[in-house]
């Protein structure tokens, strides 16, 4: 039992707990946050953590705890749109490539290769710059870059599923290509795709935050976590809480998603347990 201390149920339980906590905060943030995200308290500018402001305030006297809670909404909303949308696109493309084979497979996979050889950040930055920095831009830019990993996994899965007897049986009774893809192949890819997308949530949150940190993402005064880290950079020496608290929020939620993903991988792929 002691041997498995780090594995189960502690880390996975912790992971699920963190993810639920952040989802709860994202859903009910405005109801439970002590202040509004842009409420300025000029009597408490740059004040250190205290009972009144548990995570301190920024240079405009805004409560960091409240802004982090509102920020959960933005960061989680972006990834909850981006990951399923990109996942859907990638799974469809990968499955079609794997099942059809030949020229279509080659074409889709070469396009995937193209996307694989540009760093996510540079790709999303280029799209974001072209469309002008905003929340909508971040979502579009990320979907553009994010589908590639799903296409690869789905193609691999589709090829191995294709060789199964039940696909042969479906073909024998005259099922259409479309039915084979949507009814017999994609549902069987759910396990690996679920694991990948949970681990991917963390990577997506990190990218949203990095985009805003570099100034291409969500713009002030919206309380996005990466943008908050940037705004606090000049105060890092003396008022560390401005950058570190939103940074820790990013770390905690990404860690949570990664622990859940790691647990799911153990369940779906017992070989590497």
């Amino acid at each position: 039992m002691k041997k498995h201390f780090f594995k189960t149920p502690l880390t996975s339980g912790l992971g699920f707990g963190i993810v639920f906590l952040f989802l709860f905060v994202a859903a009910f943030g405005p109801l439970i946050a002590p202040y509004g995200s842009n409420h300025m308290d000029f009597d408490h500018i740059l004040s250190s953590p205290s009972l009144k402001h548990p995570f301190g305030t920024d240079s405009l006297g805004r409560d960091i705890l409240s802004r982090v809670m509102y920020g959960a909404r933005i960061d989680l909303m972006v990834v909850l749109i981006v990951v399923p949308a990109a996942g859907f696109l990638g799974v469809i493309l990968g499955t079609v490539a794997g099942i059809t084979g030949g020229f279509i497979d080659d074409l889709i996979m070469r396009i995937t290769d193209v996307f694989m050889s540009i760093p996510y950040l540079v790709l999303t930055m280029s799209v974001a710059a072209a469309l002008g920095p905003s929340l909508r831009t971040v979502i579009i830019a990320m979907i553009t870059a994010w589908w590639r990993g799903y296409a690869r996994i789905a193609r691999g899965e589709a090829i191995s599923i294709c060789e199964s007897v039940y696909i042969e049986a479906a073909e024998a009774i005259g099922a259409s290509r479309l039915r084979i893809i949507f009814r017999h192949t994609i549902p069987n890819e759910v396990g690996p795709i679920l694991v990948y997308s949970t681990l991917d949530m963390g990577a997506a949150i990190l990218t949203v935050a990095a985009l805003s940190f570099l100034g291409y993402g969500v713009q002030p005064p919206m309380p996005e976590w990466g943008a908050m880290v940037t705004q606090g950079r000049d105060y890092l020496m003396n008022q560390w809480w401005l950058s570190i608290i939103p940074g820790l929020a990013i770390f905690t939620v990404v860690w949570g998603f990664n622990m859940v993903g790691d647990k799911l991988r153990d369940v779906f792929d017992p070989r590497i347990r």
């Binding site: 498995h4 290769d113 540079v122 553009t144 950079r233 990404v254």
Partner: protein, 335 residues
């Protein structure tokens, strides 16, 4: 083997062309007016019109792409409208700094990752394995920019151990330009003072940048080593009475390492993405910072130059990796 290399080379060129076309089209579909940005806020209408004409900005995107590809075909990367330098010249100045940083990071990440992966697999489920798993999970969860800011705060400002920005000390002369890699150039020319200064400046950015590749390579090495160590030939090697070190490094690792090597190209892609963040935080005079400022100023010739260099380096590494498979794993034959 020759035919295989030629085919892979052709595929690599196609991928590079695809990258260039995609980024060009995406970045030129913009609603913003780059000519106005390039000409500056105090520019006259004539200046804006002249820039539009010079860069074919009035033409439809496919025509602009056509002009760009023709220009690229003659080996010309164009003129940056912001720095007013040929992009090739700018890249010549900035690329070595980024390549030095990225390659050292990938090297550190690979060596560390393979070592940690082997240790974790050999001591599977022990505290070492669990600790490395927890560190890996925490490692991939830390935002690179936060890690960089914290490291700067601790090692540069509080402890004053390492410089917080730049590639070389201000009072130290740059080494002669032989390879463009300061570390190598200072060593070749025997300037030990410069070498130490460069090393001190490289330490934080390269270690931080290597962290994500270290985590990825540890994970993949561990899982393939776990699989290989349960094979019959490992049992045979052990029952022959071979030393454990020999069994692990000569027999098991050689068969497990190909999956880690196959990850090199992708690791490099992630590292190049990371250089943008690291270079901005550490004021590193490289391509990543150049690209970041190019995107801010809508300097598309510069952005395209950066994308071209990155995709070419990644394609070359992927090609080398493919060819190395045959050396690492004699079962693979190139038809």
């Amino acid at each position: 083997m020759l035919a295989y290399t030629a085919r892979r080379l052709g595929e690599a060129l196609l991928v590079i062309l695809g990258v260039v076309i995609f980024v060009f089209v995406v970045s030129h579909l913009l609603p913003a007016n780059p000519a106005k940005v390039w000409a500056g806020s105090k520019s006259s209408n004539e200046q804006v019109e002249r820039i539009k004409e010079e860069y074919h900005l009035d033409e439809p995107v496919h025509k602009q792409l056509y002009f760009y590809l023709i220009q690229l075909g003659s080996g010309d990367l164009g003129l940056s409208p912001v720095t007013n330098n040929p992009v090739f010249k700018d890249l010549q100045r900035f690329a070595p700094a980024t390549l030095e940083l990225a390659l050292i990071s990938v090297f550190l990440g690979s060596i560390g990752g393979i070592y940690l992966g082997v240790i974790s697999a050999v001591h599977k489920d022990s505290w070492v394995d669990q600790l490395s798993r927890v560190i890996a999970l925490a490692g991939v969860s830390l935002p690179l920019f936060l890690l960089a800011l914290l490291a700067q705060l601790l090692f540069s400002f509080s402890l004053n151990w390492l410089p917080f920005a730049g590639r070389i000390g201000q009072s130290v002369a740059s080494p002669p330009n032989i390879t463009g890699f300061y570390l190598l150039d200072s060593l070749i020319s025997g300037q030990m003072g410069t070498f130490v200064s460069v090393l001190r400046h490289l330490a934080l950015p390269s270690l931080l940048l290597s962290f994500s590749s270290l985590v990825r390579i540890t994970r993949i090495t561990r899982s393939s080593m776990v699989e290989v160590l349960s094979q019959d030939y490992v049992l045979t090697a052990r029952s022959k009475g071979l030393k454990e070190r020999m069994v692990i490094y000569r027999h098991a690792l050689r068969n497990a390492i190909s999956s880690s090597i196959s990850l090199l190209g992708l690791t490099l892609v992630y590292t190049f993405g990371g250089t943008v963040v690291i270079e901005v935080v550490f004021g590193w005079p490289g391509m990543g910072r150049y690209a970041a400022s190019a995107i801010h100023t809508l300097d598309f010739p510069a952005l395209m130059g950066f994308v071209l260099v990155v995709s070419t380096v990644v394609a070359i590494v992927n090609l080398i990796v493919d060819l190395m498979y045959g050396v690492m794993d004699p079962r693979i034959k190139y038809a």
